[in-house]
Symmetry: C2
């Protein structure tokens, strides 16, 4: 395949629009592109590579002639339409619907690109907070197996899509106007607050965002024994997830060695000069492709401990970019 016929399901959403931007920026070889969304957005006009395209309603017939379908819909929509799309081409699915399915590869190209070859029509994109974590952990894990990880997150409202962004905007305006802010997307006021609840609650007391981080990290890194725990927290930031990471290694390793390994790692940018207040920041990461790592230091609570701070654009590397990178691998694969 030299040029692919591409469909974008969920094209009008926050991640869908980022799909288009990333495809354009990276000059993804497209023969054609079809924009799909729910009935509500049918007929909307969106610009792709300088052409105005009409958004079509997502139906079972939407995928005829398609080589690659990028999905960024809710998981129930994905569960229904991905298998249909997979009969025409390859689905790269951003939802949680198939991530932990043993027959579906869960791929972060910098970490496990080779897993793509095992696909049966669907390739899953991990959760945003997982992607940036494994991009930063894997290079270390390859040279010094990580035994245990604790990660606490500081997650942007755009992780909940456009409605999360609008809710923070509206709440900020309400607070400034002396009014009572209304919550709907988030369970409580997110403006000037932090919420230790992301996604649904599981029986073990973890919210699913935390559990996804745990399970997906093990699957992507092929590290089923990795001990890992997380607290996932929503913060009043528009774009950019930050993560405080504490890990235990197998062998001694200095912060300098970790910095050295990460500075050579694909997709990673080391930003680490705390004496000049230089470290990764959500505001700086927003709109960029890299996973930023800084505050690399000994974790003084463990003889083999390393602590660090990991930040990335959750909409971009955490979703759209990672999906397009997978699509690029598919195009290259077929070229060979």
């Amino acid at each position: 395949m030299r040029e692919a016929n591409v469909a974008i399901a969920g094209a009008t959403g926050l991640v869908g629009r980022e799909f288009i931007r990333v495809l354009e920026e990276r000059r993804f070889p497209m023969a054609s592109v079809r924009l799909l969304a729910s009935e509500r957005s049918e007929g909307k006009i969106m610009r792709v590579n300088g052409c105005d395209l009409k958004v079509e309603r997502l139906t079972e017939d939407s995928f005829k002639g398609i080589d690659i379908a990028l999905f960024s819909t809710g998981s129930s929509v994905s569960r229904r339409f991905s298998p249909i799309a997979a009969q025409c081409g390859v689905v790269v699915d951003n939802s949680k619907a198939f991530r932990m399915d043993d027959t579906v590869p869960l791929v972060v190209p910098e970490v496990n690109a080779e897993d793509i070859r095992n696909h049966r029509g669907i390739i899953a994109v991990p959760n945003c907070s997982t992607i940036q974590l494994v991009v930063a952990l894997n290079p270390i894990h390859r040279v010094n197996p990580i035994k245990r990880v604790i990660v606490d997150t500081y997650q942007a409202v755009s992780g909940a899509g456009g409605k999360g962004v609008r809710e923070l905007e509206q709440q900020i305006e309400a607070v400034l106007a002396g009014k009572e802010p209304e919550s709907g997307t988030f369970p409580h006021q997110i403006a000037f607050n932090v919420l230790p609840e992301v996604d649904v609650l599981l029986d073990n007391g973890y919210y699913n965002e935390e559990w996804k981080l745990i399970q997906e990290t093990r699957k992507i890194m092929h590290a089923p024994e990795l001990a890992i725990s997380a607290t996932a927290v929503r913060v009043p930031v528009y774009v950019g997830h930050s993560e405080a990471v504490h890990m235990e290694l197998t062998h001694p390793m200095s912060p300098e060695e970790v910095r050295e390994v990460l500075s050579r790692a694909p997709g990673v940018r080391v930003v680490d000069d705390p004496s000049s207040s230089v470290y990764p920041l959500a505001l700086d990461a927003a709109g960029t492709d890299d996973v930023y790592v800084g505050r690399i230091r000994k974790d003084v609570s463990h003889p083999l401990g390393i602590a660090m701070w990991v930040v990335a654009d959750n909409v971009r590397k955490g979703a759209a970019l990672n999906a397009v990178q997978i699509a690029e691998l598919l195009v290259c694969d077929h070229k060979g």
Copy 2:
């Protein structure tokens, strides 16, 4: 001492004003009160227990006839004037000046009230993020020694005083007006961002806020061997520090048992029904006295692990209330 002659050094600051509110609310037995501040605030009128009082300039003569001096000044001011005040009465100092001094008790009344008896004129109030942590950890540690703690914080801007609060307010207004927000108190924009820098950098790669959490926790809990690490992060919240805590115990203990122990602990309120989105929140804690604990669950990364979420009003329990509680113990002590 039935009624104390009280001085408040730094009376016009964020914590100083909270001192007055807490003294009033708790009907602290005051024979007199003297409000002290820098030259800039001299002559200001502040209301205490229904009386208008004039703020005096803090000098070496300010403490004559004083029984208790509550300090909430910068540490350099405290270092200069606390020893002078301690020749007249007992100093309860909220700064970091004397906290790690072996001859100065560092006290959280719910944890180590008995240490007060060893004072030589100065008693130190711990750092705000430490206070709420030890109030939550100590009851568990007493029944099941904690071997290791990892804590990542979500700290309110009021931890940097009134100027921190004003900087967030001004930055929010600037962003809404489409202007470039200015930073001065914080090293980068805090509005819609999170900053992994609190206090000054140490040689080991930790910022001092993290190191204070580590050192002070060991001192207050009389646990010099406790392994502990932290990442301290400033978030765009006005009041209320939140903490994600992961600990390793000595013996197995279920989340239910931890909940049970904490529900009987002084100064702790267990708020833990995540299935109904009930957990501690900074917005709810603001203006209240308790340390709130929730999200109590097994830490799945360790066989003896427990994870939890700890929130308190950093200006109140994290500073003013804790100091007034110490003053109350002093008054009771002298009564006996």
